[in-house]
């Protein structure tokens, strides 16, 4: 069932635990924020103890690291507060150390945390997707580029954007006295962690510093308010579209059906094609056909999404 709806959770309420997974060096502690029940993908607050040392190595799944306090040094480069690193699966990073300690967030996206000592990339590593930026020092706040948009006073810095899925990782802030009087839901998962500040939502009440949520698609949130300002980091797993409304009592099934209906009006030609084509398994000429990757649910006109395929020659473009 992927990850359950964890909202709200405040990590200040629980102590750090020692990371004991094989491969990880001593001196790393964590608080589990949410974990996928199928594949072990998870989000954690992490603490690198002063003197932490990790040899060069890789993970079997891509991960994202954001530094909140202190610093870590990777190779020669010091990553202080605001540093964000995206490491694709199998990409070996240089030795990592933290002489004075650090706290941060660590997101393992498609599998459980793993660390394999290695000074070279795995043969399947996609190194060109590696990204590293200091969001506090080298990025400016911008308005959200969503249509429809969140109310003025919510600003973002986009740390990473996936061109295929539109999944993105971003810092966001709410200015003091920010308010937005509507209810929102999305077709994507939304995840966030409050680095500093308290904000309010009509469903869940106040979310303080250290507050966290993992919110599956189609769950109502909002109205919104923030008295003193908030700095947070957010992530989605696909495109974030703001389905705004003002009915506090709708459930995710109703919200999803409404989203599908709205798609019909917003993208009528595309909706018609997907809905009437026998083989509802569109091929993107930019990528391998999904059968090869096995990542695209579809049916062959019979509505049976749960079916297998015999190995056959891949279509070529």
């Amino acid at each position: 069932m992927a990850r359950p709806h964890i909202e709200p959770f405040v990590d200040r309420d629980v102590p750090f635990k020692k990371m004991t997974l094989p491969g990880f060096p001593k001196g790393m502690q964590y608080k589990m924020l949410s974990i996928d029940t199928d594949n072990g993908a998870c989000s954690m607050t992490v603490l690198f103890e002063p003197g932490y040392k990790q040899p060069p190595g890789m993970s079997y799944t891509e991960y994202e690291l954001f530094i909140m306090t202190g610093s870590v040094t990777i190779g020669e480069k010091v990553h202080g507060p605001g540093s964000y690193v995206f490491v694709p699966a199998g990409v070996a990073i240089e030795a990592l150390s933290s002489s004075r300690g650090a706290t941060g967030l660590l997101f393992y996206n498609h599998g459980e945390p793993s660390f394999v000592e290695s000074d070279s990339d795995h043969p399947r590593a996609e190194r060109d997707r590696f990204a590293s930026v200091n969001a506090y020092e080298n990025m400016q706040w911008t308005s959200t580029n969503f249509f429809p948009a969140t109310a003025p006073g919510c600003l973002v810095k986009v740390l990473r954007f996936d061109q295929r899925t539109h999944a993105f990782t971003f810092l966001y802030c709410m200015t003091p006295n920010f308010w937005q009087d509507n209810i929102s839901y999305h077709d994507c998962v939304e995840e966030a962690y409050h680095i500093w500040g308290t904000s309010w939502m009509m469903q869940f009440g106040e979310l303080p510093t250290g507050g966290y949520f993992w919110r599956p698609p189609y769950i109502n949130h909002g109205a919104f308010g923030c008295k003193l300002g908030t700095l947070a980091i957010g992530r989605t797993d696909s495109q974030l579209y703001n389905h705004f409304h003002f009915n506090p009592w709708t459930n995710p099934e109703e919200n999803q059906e409404r989203a599908a209906s709205r798609l019909l009006h917003r993208n009528p030609e595309l909706y018609k094609w997907v809905n009437t084509h026998g083989h509802n398994h569109p091929i993107d000429f930019d990528y391998d056909h999904g059968h090869a990757q096995g990542d695209t649910p579809h049916h062959h006109g019979d509505g049976r999404v749960d079916h297998g395929h015999k190995k056959k020659k891949r279509r070529r473009r």
Binding site: P4, H5, I6, E7, P8, F9, T20, L21, P22, M32, S34, I35, T37, N39, G40, C42, Y60, T61, E62, P88, A89, G90, N109, H110, G111, E112, S114, H122, R124, E126, F147, P148, A149, T150, A151, P152, Q180, D181, N182, M202, Q203, F204, G205, P216, I219, N220, A223, F244, F246, N247, P248, W249, N251, P252
Partner: protein, 84 residues
């Protein structure tokens, strides 16, 4: 590529099991806390439904519109859940 196929050791499987048990506990605690918030939430909802008729509801960015009284939804009989 999302992840590189690999075999999980027993230690890793045991760790995952422990974390999933803890998460279940965390989830139950959240549901209980959110249930306890119901009276406050009902008040917030009532205030919200008032505000969107007087000041308006956000449609896009700073665009707002006032909601007519007949558009205000009626609370259904089922339990008002916010955690799913």
């Amino acid at each position: 590529m999302k992840a590189i196929p690999h075999k999980r050791s027993r230690e890793v499987e045991a760790w995952l099991k422990r974390e999933l048990v803890e998460q279940k506990r965390r989830y139950k605690k959240i549901v209980a806390e959110q249930d306890a918030l119901a009276p406050k939430r009902d008040k917030w909802v009532a205030e919200f439904l008032q505000r969107i008729q007087t000041r308006g509801t956000h449609v896009h960015w700073d665009q707002m519109r006032k909601v007519r009284p007949e558009e205000i939804p009626v609370k259904p009989k089922r339990k008002f859940r916010v955690v799913f």
